[in-house]
C-alpha cells in the first residue's frame, strides 16, 4: 500500500443497539486508486463505513489526511472531504434529482459539468422525483451526490447491489473514472467488479480485518477466497 494513506483506522469498534458489529478494525487506505473491503454478509463491512462517518456509536482512532476525525459529528467529518454513497442508495425519494444534487453541494463551485458528463441520463431527468427512478438511476443519483464535491475520499457501499448487468458495467465505469481524481474505499460483493477496479483489498471476518493485500492476488488465491469470502472460485461474475 502507499506510504501516505488518506485514511487510517486504528482499533475501530462499533455497536448498534448494544450489539457489537465491528470488533477491532485497523487498516489504512492509500491516497490513490480504489481499495476494496471484502467479506461475507454480516461481517461488518457496512458498519465499518458507517462507524468511520460516526453514523453509529464507535470508539477507536480515525485519521483523514493526518487529522483525527473520530471526535467529530458526522456532518463535520463529511465537510472535511468524505463523500459517502450508502448501501441501498438512500436517495430522497420525494425530492427531485436536481434537489438531491443541490442538497449535496458543499462547495462554491460544485462539479456539475463533471457529474452531468458522467451521468447524462440524469440531466434529462432533473425534475423527476428520485423515488420514481429505476434502481440503476437512483444509484447514479447517489454516486453523483458524492462526486459533485471535490472530496479527499469516497466511501462507496455496494454500488452494484441488485442492478442489471448492463447497469453494473456503467456504475463500474463511473467509479473507474471517478477514481482518477479521488481515492475510493469500496465495499463490493461483485468480485468481477472488484477485480476490474480495485488495486488493494481489505478482508473482514467477524468484525475484524483478517487479510490485506493486492486485490487481484487475493482473488487469484482460490483457497483464500473460499475460506474468507465463502466463494468456490474467483471466476468472473462470482459474488462474495
Amino acid at each position: 500500500m502507499s506510504a501516505q494513506p488518506i485514511l487510517e483506522v486504528e482499533g475501530l469498534q462499533a455497536t448498534i443497539a448494544g450489539q457489537q458489529v465491528v470488533e477491532d478494525v485497523s487498516f489504512s487506505v492509500p491516497s490513490t486508486g480504489i481499495t476494496a473491503v471484502l467479506g461475507r454478509n454480516g461481517v461488518g463491512k457496512t458498519s465499518t463505513l458507517r462507524a468511520i462517518l460516526g453514523l453509529i456509536q464507535r470508539t477507536g482512532s480515525v485519521t483523514l489526511a493526518g487529522d483525527r476525525i473520530d471526535g467529530l459529528a458526522t456532518h463535520r467529518i463529511v465537510q472535511r472531504g468524505i463523500g459517502y454513497v450508502p448501501e441501498d442508495r438512500e436517495v430522497f425519494s420525494k425530492l427531485t434529482v436536481a434537489e438531491n444534487l443541490a442538497l449535496a453541494e458543499r462547495q462554491k463551485n460544485p462539479r456539475r459539468e463533471f457529474v452531468d458528463a458522467l451521468f447524462p441520463d440524469l440531466v434529462k431527468r432533473r425534475q423527476q422525483a428520485a423515488g420514481t427512478l429505476s434502481g440503476g438511476q437512483q444509484q447514479m443519483v447517489s454516486l453523483a451526490r458524492a462526486l459533485i464535491n471535490d472530496n479527499r475520499l469516497l466511501m462507496v457501499d455496494e454500488p452494484t447491489k441488485g442492478l442489471a448487468p448492463r447497469i453494473v458495467g456503467e456504475v463500474a465505469e463511473a467509479l473507474a473514472e471517478a477514481s482518477a481524481t479521488v481515492p475510493i474505499l469500496l465495499v463490493e460483493q461483485n468480485l468481477e467488479v472488484v477485480r476490474r477496479l480495485a488495486a488493494d483489498a481489505i478482508v473482514l471476518d467477524g468484525g475484524r480485518v483478517v487479510h490485506t493485500g493486492d486485490a487481484n492476488a487475493i482473488l487469484d488465491d482460490d483457497a483464500l477466497v473460499h475460506r474468507l469470502l465463502g466463494v468456490g472460485t474467483a471466476e468472473t461474475g462470482a459474488s462474495a
Binding site: 462517518l53 453514523l55 459529528a73 458526522t74 456532518h75 463529511v78 465537510q79 459517502y84 450508502p86 438512500e90 430522497f92 425519494s93 420525494k94 425530492l95 434537489e99 443541490a102 442538497l103 449535496a104 458543499r106 451526490r145 464535491n149
Partner: protein, 291 residues
C-alpha cells in the same frame, strides 16, 4: 340553510385555529420524531404576552391587534427556540426522554402562567369589526372567523413556499425522509431542528393570540385545550404531513361543529370516535406515515 352555512363556516374557522397549532406539531414530528407536548405552552405564552401588549396600546384598535399578533409570533418562536436548544437538543435521539421533558415543561409552564396571571380567564377586547358579524346567505358569521381563516391560509402558503423553494425547506423535506442521510451529506441537521421549532412556535404564538379572540378570553389552560385537538388532527392527517394536517384540521372541526349542533353537543366525543376509526382503518392517517 343559514344554520348549515353558519355551522360550516364556524367549523372552517375553528379548523383554521387547529391548523395554526397542528402545523408546528406536524413539522416537528416529521423532522425530529418528537411529540411536543409543550406546544400548548408556546401558544398560551404568546396569547398572554399578546394580550399584555394589546392592553398597553389600547385593546380595541387595529394597531393593538396587529402588535399582539406580531408579539405572539415572536414570543412563541423565542420560547420554542429556547426549548429546543436547552431541553430537546441535549436529549438528541432519545425520543422518550424528549417527550417526557416536553410534558414536564407543559405542566411547569401552566403553573407559571397561573402564578403570574391567575387561574381565572381574563376577558379581552378587540377591534370593533371583530366583534361584529358578516351576513353570508342569511347566516351571521362572526368576523373573527375570517381573520382565523386568513391567518391559517397565509401560514399554509408561507410554509409551502418555504419548504418548496428554500434550501432550508429542502433540508427539512429531506430530513423528514431520512435524517441520517442528510447529515451524511455534510449538513448540520440540528440547525433545521431549531428552525422547525421556531416556525412551529411562532405559528402557535400567533394561534394563541387568535384563539383568545375566538374564545374571548385568555387563560393558563388555553393551550392545553387546543393541543388535544391539534394532536388529534395531526394524527388523523398523518404524522409529519403538513397537507394532511391542513385537511384534517378542517374536517375534524367541521365534524365537531355539526355534531355539537345536531347530536346534542357530542362534538368532542365524535372527534375521538373519528380518531379511533382512522387509526383502525388507516393507521398512517390520511396522508402520512404510521402513527
Amino acid at each position: 340553510m343559514s344554520t348549515l352555512i353558519l355551522i360550516l363556516i364556524t367549523g372552517v374557522g375553528l379548523g383554521a385555529l387547529y391548523f395554526l397549532v397542528a402545523s408546528g406539531l406536524s413539522l416537528i414530528y416529521g423532522l425530529m420524531h418528537v411529540l411536543n407536548f409543550a406546544h400548548g405552552a408556546f401558544l398560551t405564552f404568546g396569547a398572554f404576552l399578546g394580550f399584555e401588549i394589546a392592553r398597553r396600546i389600547g385593546s380595541d384598535t387595529w394597531w393593538a391587534f396587529a402588535a399582539s399578533v406580531v408579539i405572539g409570533g415572536v414570543v412563541g418562536a423565542l420560547f420554542a427556540t429556547l426549548t429546543e436548544l436547552a431541553l430537546i437538543r441535549p436529549l438528541y435521539e432519545r425520543h422518550i426522554e424528549q417527550v417526557l421533558v416536553t410534558v414536564g415543561l407543559a405542566l411547569a409552564a401552566v403553573a407559571l402562567f397561573e402564578g403570574i396571571w391567575g387561574s381565572d380567564p381574563i376577558y379581552i377586547s378587540a377591534p370593533a369589526w371583530m366583534n361584529e358579524t358578516t351576513s353570508v346567505f342569511g347566516a351571521q358569521v362572526p368576523n373573527t372567523y375570517w381573520v382565523l381563516m386568513a391567518a391559517a391560509t397565509a401560514l399554509l402558503i408561507s410554509l409551502v413556499v418555504f419548504l418548496r423553494f428554500t434550501r432550508f425547506g429542502m433540508i427539512i423535506r429531506a430530513g423528514v425522509e431520512n435524517r441520517k442521510m442528510v447529515t451524511a451529506l455534510g449538513i448540520d441537521v440540528r440547525k433545521a431542528f431549531t428552525l422547525v421549532f421556531a416556525i412551529g412556535g411562532s405559528a402557535a404564538g400567533v394561534g394563541g393570540v387568535l384563539a383568545s379572540h375566538y374564545t374571548g378570553y385568555v387563560s393558563a389552560h388555553l393551550g392545553s385545550t387546543l393541543l388535544i385537538f391539534a394532536f388529534i388532527v395531526t394524527v388523523i392527517g398523518g404524522l409529519g404531513s403538513l397537507t394532511g394536517a391542513a385537511i384534517a384540521s378542517v374536517l375534524v372541526a367541521v365534524l365537531q361543529q355539526f355534531a355539537n349542533y345536531y347530536l346534542g353537543g357530542t362534538g368532542d366525543l365524535i372527534v375521538v370516535v373519528a380518531l379511533a376509526a382512522v387509526l383502525l382503518v388507516r393507521p398512517a392517517g390520511l396522508l402520512g406515515r404510521t402513527a
